[in-house]
Symmetry: C2
Subunit: 132 residues, 2 copies
């Protein structure tokens, strides 16, 4: 596994497992519940710290979806989300739309963008049809 000077603890394994279990992005609470169901002792503070830690290692990516942070295993094909600000519906959006942008940013601005898990808000087609 990943011994980059960090310790592999049962808590970290469990938390990573819990995130893997999720089909898509998983909220803090969902992760907490899953972990609790397997090992009721685990503390919220530990979960917060571990999630930060995993994000820093880039094993996990996070995104803000309407004020809520969600997590997901990194390394899968990057993808993004369209979040309707009215009904909350979420659609996936493939990554290729951002390839050009990413390249441009790197070339023109020297900026390595973390466009791994973007959430774009807006109005979905359903809601557009029924007035603003």
């Amino acid at each position: 596994m990943r011994e980059r000077g960090f310790r592999v603890t049962p808590q970290r394994m469990l938390i990573l497992d819990a995130i893997c279990e999720g089909e898509e992005h998983t909220s803090f609470d969902e992760i907490y519940e899953r972990v609790q169901s397997k090992a009721p002792g685990i503390n919220q503070a530990t979960l917060y710290r571990t999630l930060d830690f995993l994000c820093e290692l880039r094993l996990v990516v996070s995104a803000e979806i309407d004020g809520r942070t969600v997590f997901e295993i990194a390394g899968e094909t990057p993808h993004h989300h369209l979040v309707c600000r009215r009904c909350g519906a979420i659609q996936e959006l493939a990554d290729y739309h951002f390839l050009e942008l990413r390249t441009h940013l790197l070339r023109e601005h020297g900026f390595k963008a973390d466009i791994n898990h973007l959430a774009i808000t807006g109005l979905c087609s359903q809601c557009t049809q029924s007035g603003t």
Copy 2:
């Protein structure tokens, strides 16, 4: 002005002014200070409520820049920001990069994206050079 069934109160005027004053995006605290300096009576709760209200009316747009919500008058040329996750530096990014994406989303997904004030995180050129 904008009587769409809502009341124009001195507080709302002041808050809108305070946001206009800001060159760029303005944090909650900055707005609060500005408003306080003109009318020390105004309450934080009012400011929260008013900002929500103005965002809903789309007179103001907000964005999350590293955990902090910032506000800006809407209607100016849309623009975006590159935020370095290491040193926090912020660069502007013109809107035209998103034109195509916006059009695509509308045509293919029927999704009216609110790409008015995006904040993209990543590593700026400075930080890229000095190891991850």
